[in-house]
Amino acid sequence: MNSGLLTVLIAMLGGAIRVSTPFMFVALGECLTEKSGRVNLGLEGTLVLGAMVAYAISYHTGSPWAGVFAAGVAGSALGAMHGSICSLPRVNDVAVGIAMMLFGIGVAFFFGKPYIQPTAPRLSSLPFGGCTSDLNLRSALDINPLFFVGIAVALLMAWAFANTRWGLIVRTVGDSAAAARAMGISVDFVRFLSTTIGGFLAGVGGAFLSLSYPGSWNQGLSSGQGLMAVALVIFARWSPVRCVLAALLFGAAGAIGPALQSVGITQGYYFFNAAPYILTLALMIATSSATHSSRDMPGELSMAK
């Protein structure tokens, strides 16, 4: 095979694995929240705040995993805020999401300013490419453990939705609040918990951004990944496993620009930067329909009504 093309493909594979991880976490978090019948558009802010907190804690404690955990806690705080505000009557969850997005980004930039310069310890990755001598392949197969954590969470979620009491409760609340109330379930509490845990996952996704790839904290770290992940859940039709596959697809799209750059094609770099956004929009157009709501969509979602 043409070696240039092979290099691009390998770089895209490595890029897909690296770039997809934050998408995966945010998408899984959003998937859980939406399964319970609420949309949290604020995960973009959660992602950015998670990235900042992870970097700061990793810098102060010297332990990147402490950073990952702290990012999750910060994310669940934002999730809990969203969850409790939306429990109030007459409050629109989409609008609260927009506000949470602006608030999360603001707080992250505010407290993150002193951490732009210093270098924090990063998460080390697992060298799966050790057996191969090809340098490109080796760097592509340096996989961060969080990637596998994400896949494990996806499998766990898929299993729990299908087989556990909790999974049934979340799905019932998401499909019909009236039915859930009839069963004696507190709809608001289930949604609060789902949004909080969803926020935790999105925060961990942010930790990956600042502690692994790109691996530093700055104000331009996330530009819409959180939002794209929300769109990705629609494309994945609310299935955790399909969320992982869709995240990989998005990762590959996001890796086109850097991959082409690695073989010296720099023209249209800014165009390829837009590729993930355009792909997201194209997928949304392809999977949406004006006349009926998407298959498998939780019936209580505000966008379904």
Binding site: V96, G106, L227
Partner: protein, 384 residues
């Protein structure tokens, strides 16, 4: 917000619920009860604003800064002197237009947050069409062409999100924000590539359009024409949305989509039109940023006016006229950002934190509507 003072002074006793029952004739009672019912929409947002300010003051105290200093600098930097107030008006111009870009779709039931992208692309398109015309075509022709280009490009950009909503059911909030990212990427693509001004090594920009092709200030002030245009557009859109069949049809569609369909209203055309009006407003804001301030298109266009505009529109309850005073308030906040940063040693994101806080508290306050007997004259009588 602007109607707060007369409301409070005209019916103070009844509002407090301590006075004797009204003995006014039927027609003035009707007016009074309407005023009382409407004052809910002023008192609750104002209360939310106050609560957010209190929370922010606590936040400042927690990090060891003085809230009084903060208020002082916002006053000095945004409103205190003629110079700073003119700066505020200047900054409120894009806020008025981007808030309108949120308010008009909101009337038809769509939450669109794509104003930032339409502003950037509209401004860029205006600069891009002007650059080859500079020195060839006189300003008197070039300037209207620039305005028209900004209106059309902005209108088509957000109109696309409206069309996708109607034709394909694509969620308009997500698609409009995605289009913002795409719009910024398109501008960067051209500004860093084929359209880059090679003589300007510092910041990738288009070639300058030149002083003669820029739109000046309102005579006797240092405020550019964008402010006045913003005010005129707000008034025009207020009349469009409240006094015309178009506006009525749009509000019916926003209130009950199925009823609008059943009535045979041209729902698709209404949605796309509202989205296009929104985009045109944001594009116009982009035109003024290029033609009145920057003189060229570059990344400074994406300064976040589109996002602050979302908050302005929500705070004004998507009422085009109320948007103007609210935009001036936030224009002052944005204008004083630099002073706060320098004097108080706070990061520039401070304004973002405050805006986020106001937005959240405002949305929480939505839950208060309809809970107070004070605002429902009829109910109050029954209960007491």
């Amino acid at each position: 917000m602007s109607t707060g003072a007369p409301t409070a002074s005209e019916i103070p006793r009844r509002a407090l619920g301590t006075a004797k029952p009204p003995s006014a004739p039927a027609d003035t009672y009707d007016f009074g009860s309407r005023l009382r019912a409407n004052s809910e929409y002023v008192v609750i947002p104002a209360f939310a604003l106050l609560m957010a300010a209190l929370l922010f003051a606590l936040f400042l105290l927690a990090i060891g800064k003085s809230p009084l200093d903060f208020i002082d600098y916002v006053w000095k930097g945004g409103f205190g002197t003629a110079f700073s107030f003119q700066n505020t008006l200047q900054r409120s111009s894009p806020l008025i237009l981007t808030a309108l870009a949120v308010a008009i779709p909101a009337r038809i039931g769509l939450i669109m947050i794509g104003a930032e992208g339409a502003l950037v692309l509209g401004g860029f398109a205006a600069a891009a069409i002007a650059v080859p015309m500079v020195g060839v075509v006189p300003p008197i022709i070039t300037m209207p062409v620039m305005v028209l280009t900004a209106l059309i490009v902005g209108g088509l950009w957000v109109g696309l999100a409206g069309y996708l909503k109607y034709a394909r059911g694509v969620n308009e909030t997500i698609s409009s924000l995605l289009l913002t990212y795409i719009g910024i990427a398109i501008m960067n693509f051209f500004v860093e590539g084929v359209m880059r001004d090679a003589s300007n090594p510092n910041k990738p920009s288009t070639k300058p359009i030149g002083e003669a092709y820029m739109i000046g200030n309102i005579p006797g002030t240092s405020v550019h024409w964008g402010f006045l245009v913003g005010v005129v557009v707000s008034i025009a859109l207020y009349f469009l949305m409240t006094r015309t069949t178009f506006g009525f049809a749009a509000r019916v569609t926003g209130g009950n989509f199925r009823a609008a369909l059943a009535q045979g209203l041209p729902v698709g055309r209404l949605i796309v039109s509202c989205a296009m009006i929104a985009g045109a407003c944001a594009g116009l804001a982009g035109y003024f940023e290029v033609a009145a301030i920057q003189g060229r298109a570059n990344a400074s266009l994406a300064a976040g006016y589109g996002f602050t505009g979302i908050l302005v529109s929500f705070l004004a309850r998507h009422n085009p006229i109320v948007i103007v005073p609210v935009a001036i308030l936030f224009g002052g906040l944005v204008a004083s950002g630099g002073l706060i940063q320098r004097r108080m040693g706070l990061p520039d994101a401070t304004v973002l934190v405050l805006q986020g806080l106001i937005f959240i508290v405002l949305l929480v306050s939505e839950t208060l509507y309809g809970r107070f007997a004070i605002f429902r004259p009829g109910d109050a009588k029954e209960r007491t």
